[in-house]
Amino acid sequence: MTELTAEALAPASLAYQNWHRFSRNPTAVIGATIVVVVVLAAIFAPFIAPHPDHVGSFVNFRARHQPPSPQYWFGTDDVGRDIFSRVLFGYRVSLVLAAVVLAIAVPLGAALGLVAGYFGGWAEVIIMRLTDIALAIPPLVMALAVTAVLTPSLMHAMFAIAALWWTWHTRLIFSITRTLRGQEFVEAAQILGAGRFHILFRELLPNCASAILVKTSLDFGFVILIGAALSYLGLGVQPPTPDLGTMVASGADFLPDRWWESLLPGAAILFVALGFNLLGDGLRDLYDVESVR
């Protein structure tokens, strides 16, 4: 029986098709919207924030502990600073640090995965054993441990997380590469005399691209959550720079009466993590990638 599919009828380019499917997928669209909103808010924070000066060392004891109002959208904290503005600036910290972590972890992980998957043999054994070991340490615990020897700073902690995070990508790329290795287009390239680097980066890597994209998207959310947990524990950016996790921690003292000081920054964290998670999920549906977690 012949079956007609919608794709077979559409004459348009691949990019157009992808966009078409993407925009039909509510999860992806919502996720992308949230991410865009947060990123823009973070970039333009100094211009959007109603009280940009509350970000630095600012105190206004007459306006302490104000509940959310038209003047202070998220209310004020215990020294009178506008929480909404601080949340916007806090987004900057979260996004930048997640970006740093992933900028290190993803290329490193992908490269190692490619090498292990393509060359096999000793490279595979060593790299995958290393991966096993690194996976055995909870990232949070690692970050905590590292900050014991260095001064507590979010940057140090993030480097520690990056030092463990690459392993997920290595595993992922490794399994994809290993499957692809046996396929014909690789053989064809080899026969044609393509160098190893060429095969790695021009043949194999593009095939992993969708998986990497999905995983990175999801990772942004998870790394932000870990960063928030670290700053909640007190290893975050030092005050008075606003940071979402620290805000939740300091606001926690005033629960449950002054709930906005703790729960609203917390909700902000949830919001951005949700956005990346939905985006990653939507991309996963789009590319039909099953092996990505």
């Binding site: 029986m1 012949t2 079956e3 919608a6």
Partner: protein, 328 residues
């Protein structure tokens, strides 16, 4: 064939609807399987033989399929008029199926014995028969022996992964025999196996027909298999039976152009050894040609082929659906 045959399919028509389009998959299928006979249903992939088989067994998913017209009579009753419950009662009891792929048709995480016992337990329940554990095990041993398995107890305790392909296929046959069916439908028996093992399986099936007085309907695309085993052959093309007759007749004196082409396709070891295929491909079931569906590919088509041909007699039990049969 005097008395009513065990299984009789009459003018079965099945449509499929996908993506809003309707495909007329089976246009008019009629066939019969008498008791204690070995009947083969032959055709290329996509000709509708699996659909026919599933319709007979009652496992055709409706939607997207829809049985538009026809009868499927088993033991005197029209299966299509039965309630789902009654239909289900027949499945696995009076009529049973042997699956195609022994690798994937067995649940990998349960032992073979466990799977067989489960099947037996529930068929017994449906037949109102009570059998305790020990007697179930005895029955397992019985059927495993019938399919010529050495050491049935060990086999029962094994997981599918521990058995070879041939053994797994025998297990599948044994499963089908558990409740002493009257009709066995074998879906491409042995295609997933190597040729030698396949030959053994086919021989086993032949012997079973004899020994257990079964009626066997064998679905296959492989003519070579048919020649070895079957008594009677139905040749299907694009949703209709184009020729029917005793196996020997079909091979010696095929009349329908499609059958002739098929017979020619079978590679020979001597004589003309050039490799022949049939040009063209199956029609679009959404918009099938009016009349004979083989006409577009047929080397001897004439304008009359625009109308669906009647089945024309060629021999005592042999007929072909072609306008050009019966000429000179």
């Amino acid at each position: 064939m005097s008395a009513e045959p065990l299984l009789s399919v009459r003018s079965l028509r099945v449509d499929f609807s996908t993506y809003g389009r309707v495909s007329h998959v089976l246009s008019d299928v009629s066939l019969e399987v008498p008791a204690r006979r070995h009947v083969a249903l032959v055709g290329e992939s996509g000709c509708g033989k699996s659909v026919t088989m599933k319709a007979i067994m009652g496992i055709l998913a409706q939607p997207p399929a829809r049985i538009v017209a026809g009868e499927i009579r088993f033991d005197g009753r029209d299966l299509l008029r039965l309630k789902a419950r009654e239909r289900e009662a027949l499945r696995g009891t009076a009529m049973s199926m042997v699956f195609q792929d022994p690798m994937s048709s067995l649940n990998p995480v349960f032992t073979v014995g466990d799977q067989m016992e489960t099947i037996l337990k529930y068929t017994d329940r449906r037949l109102g028969r009570a059998r305790n554990r020990r007697r179930r095990r005895d029955r397992l041993r019985e059927v495993l022996t019938q399919v010529r398995m050495p050491d049935p107890d060990r086999i029962a305790k094994s997981y599918p992964i521990m058995l070879s392909g041939g053994m797994r296929q025998r297990v599948l046959i044994a499963m089908a025999l558990l409740s002493e069916p009257r009709l066995l439908i074998a879906d491409e028996p042995g295609t997933a196996l190597d040729v030698t093992t396949q030959a053994q399986i086919l021989k086993l099936l032949r012997d079973l027909v004899e020994e257990r007085h079964l009626a066997l309907l064998m679905i296959t695309h492989n003519l070579g298999v048919v020649r070895e085993s079957a008594d009677f052959v139905y040749v299907m093309y694009a949703g209709a039976v184009v020729e029917r007759g005793p196996a020997a007749e079909i091979f010696a004196r095929a009349r329908h152009p499609y059958t002739r082409a098929l017979v020619d396709c079978v590679p020979k070891l001597s004589g003309d050894t050039t490799f022949k295929g049939i040009d063209g491909s199956l029609p679009d079931y959404g918009a099938p040609p009016p009349g004979c569906r083989f006409a577009p590919r047929c080397p001897i088509a004439i304008s009359a082929c625009n109308k669906a041909p009647d089945e024309r007699r060629v021999g005592p039990e042999h007929s072909a659906a072609c306008w050009r049969v019966g000429e000179n």
